[in-house]
Subunit: 407 residues, 2 copies
């Protein structure tokens, strides 16, 4: 597969004033197209750094997508750097110039003299017309590498990539798009997953990867384009089976399932059921993860267990949270007239809750019209992680019930 | 000034699955400390690429902050790459091993065998203890460059940088830290801010910048290290005064105030007051933003206005949300026996709420023991933004009340 690098120019990026989102966006597109993205680099507005980097990349990569540094001001040096690095003197591009004039004309503004600079392109470059802003992009070949230079403004960059650069890439490279399949789990760690997958013989061509986020742990399988569909499915199902009931979704096989909240949202809509929730450790976060979900009728948070008992008119006992959960669930189901009542209680002092080195025990109770299910989990880590895990594990209990999985 | 590079490792970054926010965060800190950040680089999980990059940087930079690749799985190769690049064979670190055991012990989970790998550090490396997760970091000198390797998980990376790496940097480099002051506002846009600042003469040496985030808009003033403290304070106060009641916090002048929820948390603790909340548009997110805040007694969410009326036993009218808010606030204050009752209602259909091109009108009511205050805001943008803005504007009403600001 041809090797791709991504290059971002801008002082605001290297100084951290701006988070570079262009590189991630371009990389996703490049991988989809069948490039191997090997490196991202960002440098500031120093001509020497730019020239050095361009020369490096010209020797290392087959293709490079570049953003930024095409503006009208003195710190926009990309064209100048390309000219110097590859000995392609800047030439005035009449058409580019007229396009820039038009851009200002259309907005009834005079064109500032400084913008003339944007019509200077390296000798022999292909002009990339910019229908989304003033700065035209351009493409040049240097060494083994084909470079495309685009503006740094995300909206302009995305338009120019999709409309101008992508077609040129398909003409110039023999591409075999690869397939990424992502198996998404909750409640099982990266290393536990690795152990469960021990003994699965992966074909040489298939890449296995993992990513642990705050909301899910992902197991990723990257297949080459010529990999047979049925083998892809078989292998994915084999891996998913090892991860068993922890799997809440698989992206890339057929449709994408989205995050856990999206999966539960779909399941609840399909089931046509409604839900009422009592939150404690998650403190509103479970409800907050489902904005606009019409099946979520009500959510209640009370700081103290006794206040919760009073609010719902039932007896609650610190030392019997399982039974208290059932009583609260029944009262909630009646009062909210929802089909499902989900109650989360936890054992642990505020000090335990806030201490990242101590755990609390979460008790989940799910009462439906014809079933009562409970489970418990140890929650560790910082306050915010405990809160987030509590919200996710509540949603996952719903998911497991609706998918008839182990509770 | 010493030259700094930032290096991120991870296939998820070069393939664009994850936007690299660590580099921007670390760069900001490095610039504040007095480094010149010259380059960001990201590479994937290929040992060859890692080794090549480490060797490059060792010749180019005085210091390099690295994130990612310290996990337990087979695609976490950083330590191995450092060992190979700089001929520093991996050695088993007994203390690191025990810390990893403890991490699992504290969570009542057995330590998977694969995590042993994380206790292997390059010969002669300084271990960077990780109090925020399993993977210890480490620091080594190679060529002209001092490298610090940290985990890729942002929460772990930030903790380790602040507590472990920053002190070591100050020991090892002669730095003239510049001072960054950040004025944080809610409810006013970047261009409005710029207009309000028109006519303020900034000294040549002072850099002004802006950043619009989802939770706040930041106005940044960067002062050189030798800038007189009193002039810094005067200029900051001048800028803050122009932004008036929109300012909820200023970081960098004395202490950091943190985000809006942290500011409100401190104000509520100082005032010794308690709060009950009714959430609609924010759907639990207001309460969720204040985990462990003992002053927050209760939060209630109901999907329908009529259900809310039933729940609190008061009349509510779609066409008079201001009056309905007052009635609900009084009932809530009584039932929750909290000092403050905050009620959020909104006018708008579910369709309006979900449509990013349409707005809803948010009505905030704050009832205290001796005051009643209301305001309204138009909320636009995607569903998630409307939800988040509703939560923030509720907290900001509390902030304004407690600081005697304009409501």
């Amino acid at each position: 597969m041809p090797i791709m690098e991504i290059f971002s120019q801008g002082e605001e990026i290297v100084t951290g004033q701006t988070v570079d989102t262009n590189s991630a966006w371009l990389s996703e597109r490049a991988v989809e197209l069948g490039f191997t993205v090997s490196r991202h680099t960002a440098v500031g507005d120093k001509l020497g750094d730019l020239i050095a980097l361009l020369k490096e990349i010209a020797q290392r990569a087959d293709c490079c997508l570049c953003t930024g540094g095409l503006g009208p001001t003195s710190d926009d040096l990309t064209a100048e750097a390309v000219a110097a690095a590859f000995d392609l003197p800047l030439a005035f591009d009449e058409i580019a110039y007229r396009q820039i004039e038009c851009y200002f004309g259309n907005r009834n503004r005079p064109m500032p003299a400084t913008n003339r600079k944007q019509a200077l392109l390296p000798q022999g470059a292909i002009r990339l017309d910019n229908d989304w802003g003033t700065a035209p992009g351009f493409a040049v070949r240097a060494g083994r590498c084909w470079f495309a230079f685009m503006p740094g403004v995300p909206s302009e960059m995305r338009g120019m990539f999709s409309e101008r650069v992508k077609p040129l890439l398909s003409e110039r490279f023999v591409l075999n798009p690869s397939r990424l399949i992502t198996i998404k789990t909750l409640g099982i760690g990266e290393s536990d997953i690795q152990q469960r997958l021990d003994g699965i013989e992966l074909p040489e061509a298939v890449q296995l990867g993992f990513r642990a986020g705050i909301d899910e742990v992902q197991t990723k399988l990257l297949f080459p384009s010529d990999y047979p569909e049925e083998h892809m499915t078989t292998l994915t199902e084999l891996v998913a089976a090892r991860l068993d009931d922890f799997v809440f979704g698989i992206d890339g096989l057929s449709a994408n399932t989205g995050n856990l909240a999206a999966v539960v949202d779909q399941l609840m809509r399909d089931a046509g059921k409604t839900l009422g929730v009592i939150e404690t450790a998650s403190q509103g976060l479970l409800a907050a993860k489902c904005p606009g979900a019409t099946w979520l009728k009500s959510a209640a948070f009370e700081r103290s267990l006794s206040a919760l008992g009073l609010r719902f008119g039932v007896d609650v006992e610190e030392n019997d949270l399982a039974a208290s959960g059932v009583r609260l669930a029944k009262a909630l189901q009646t009062q909210s007239s929802a089909d499902f009542a989900l109650v989360q209680l936890y054992a642990g002092s505020p000090a335990q809750f806030e201490d990242k080195d101590r755990t609390i025990i979460l008790y989940n109770t799910l009462l439906t019209r014809d079933s009562l299910q409970q489970n418990r989990h140890d929650l560790g880590g910082p306050l915010g992680r405990k809160q987030n895990q509590a919200a996710l594990l509540g949603l996952d209990l719903l998911r497991r019930h609706l998918q008839n999985r182990k509770i």
